[in-house]
């Protein structure tokens, strides 16, 4: 079983995100990065499946050189190897450009299953996995909160609003995982040591057969026009309890038709 996990390395949760006014993109260079927790869950799921069924887990990521720390993290967790698309030409890619890059990198690998997080924790678009599936010509199986494999068949519990649906498909597929699917493991010290010796294969867009006008800012069909802060929230209503605070709150909720 060869599993490919697409995962993003993003600014660490402790970093205050700044938007570069010139590019209107997140300023990523030089800030502390980490493997997206959502991607860590996808890696974890890949590891659990290969621990049961044998095989390899390869992390595929597109990102700047600061991403190395997050890649090492996935390798320290136990991923077999990694592919890093590292190229200034892919900076500013929109979701479709990103999907083209990832799909082209995946095509260079043997794969039976591609696992992606439902969405990344820094930009939350949630579109890339579907596009990757399309470009690979295989079905997307989404919102998995549980995955089981049996030979060539994958069965997932697909999270729905009120519960879950059971979805079955033949491999290969792209499956997306929900954040609650598992608790990603912490790397063991020995895993960290072993990660040093594992391969991180680096590609440019050209090496993946993608021309400069297909990816990056140049290829982007989505354009960010402006970036703004959300409107300030209105001050809340303060109820001072002078014996009938409870009634005031009840009246307020009734006014909103909540009770």
């Amino acid at each position: 079983m060869n599993i490919v996990v697409c995962g993003k390395v993003i600014p660490a949760s402790s970093v205050t995100i700044e938007i570069d006014p010139a590019t209107k993109r997140m300023a990523r260079k030089g800030v502390t990065h980490e493997l997206d927790p959502a991607a860590a869950s996808a890696v974890e799921e890949g590891l659990r499946l290969t621990e049961k069924h044998g095989g390899t887990v390869t992390l595929v990521t597109m990102g700047i050189s600061d991403a190395t720390i997050g890649i090492r993290n996935a390798l320290a967790m136990g991923a077999t190897s990694a592919v890093h698309v590292l190229d200034d030409a892919v900076a500013g890619s929109d979701t479709l450009g990103t999907a083209k890059v990832l799909a082209a990198a995946i095509k260079k690998l043997p794969f039976d299953l591609v696992i992606c997080a439902t969405e990344s924790s820094d930009s939350y678009s949630g579109i890339v996995p579907g596009q990757v599936a399309h470009l690979l010509g295989i079905p997307p199986v989404t919102f998995a909160r549980e995955i089981t494999l049996d030979g060539n068949r994958i069965t997932i519990k697909r999270q729905s609003e009120g519960g879950y649906d059971v979805v079955e498909a033949a491999l290969p597929v792209v499956v997306t995982t929900t954040s609650g699917i598992n608790e990603p493991r912490y790397p063991q010290l020995k895993g960290i040591m072993a990660a040093k010796k594992k391969e991180i294969k680096i590609y440019t867009a050209a090496e993946l057969g993608l021309s400069a006008d297909q990816v990056g800012e140049a290829g982007a069909k989505e354009k960010v026009l402006t970036v703004g802060r959300p409107p300030k929230r209105q001050a809340g209503k303060v109820v001072v309890d002078e014996g009938e605070g409870g009634k005031q709150i009840a009246d307020f909720l009734a006014e909103l038709k909540i009770i």
């Binding site: 190395t68 010290l189 020995k190």
Partner: protein, 386 residues
Amino acid sequence: MDFNLTQEQRHIREEIRRACREFPDAYWREVDGKGEYPDAFVRKLTELGWLAAPIPEEYGGAGLGITESSIILEEINRSGGNATACHAQMYTMGTLLRHGSAEQKKRYLPQIAAGELRLQAFAVTEPNAGSETTRIQTTAARRGDKYVVHGQKIFISRVLQSDLMLLLARTTPYDQLEDKTRGLSVFLVDLREAKGKMEVKPLDLMINHHTNSVFFDGLEVPGENLIGEEGMGFRYIIDGWNAERILVAAEAIGDGRWFIERAARYANERVVFGRPIGANQGIQFPIAQAHARVEAADLVRFQAATKFDRTERCGAEANMAKFLASEAAWEAANACLTTHGGYGFASEYDVERKFRETRLLTIAPVSNNLVLAYLAQHVLGMPKSY
């Protein structure tokens, strides 16, 4: 000297930091309040392999140096925790690695690395011999193929939480020795087999170290558990001192950074007389000064650790690092407490707990006076003062 950490060392720092986040202030506060051993924490770190960092790979450890081990202990203290619960294994490992027999290493190290055995106790100090180690009176007398131990130790931590304990005992009477640094031997005591011949009485101390008086009443230790040669124990312990001092320094650096971070944050938040207290030089200067001292001490610590890992002589640097770091951490602790005013005394701010904990590092495992005596005598060539 270049103290930039390697990518792997940075990775180790990031990961131990992440693992520690699972044990927030509230965890340590509760353990401290109840006087409990931080068992869940020690288990977790063991499971992730952190405490086996210095054990060679052939015995199931990570085979890392003192630099990496010191980063691990630093990050535990920096996270708000307290590495004492598990540092002894790193402090004492050198004695076992350097002087233990192949047979002893094969028997114990893989189990220690796997977390099946804990070696967290180290019995040296006695009521009549603290700083003056060569005066210890606990005896180990050879009887056939074993040693029989009689005597008393004090301030021995984690005896009840460990499976194995290193013991320093006298094998030749003091007055029969020409060289007073001879006559002591190190034993690896299997505490699981010591019942009945050893009494452990917990002491009530200012900090939660699970520290005890230990009475030996004919404890039998198999001859095969003697480490190295009989009579050479003090040398073996001294051999471990540089490593220990570097590790203590790193714990102090971790504490220092914790105090400074908390102090600076509180100084920005707390508004008195209409402005943050950090706007007053009387508050900000002590914090800035402590910060400078902690960072300076850290450089000496990395210099000592780098030399140690290159197997260069590092006695001077290791001692200076221990001295500078423990004093800087204590200065940071005071600045942090002052900054917090009365709230610093409330356990829920964790300052008073860390304040108690970091104070120890100027006194144990070795008092800073003895560190200065070392520097004066061995580095500066002044007369021996004790």
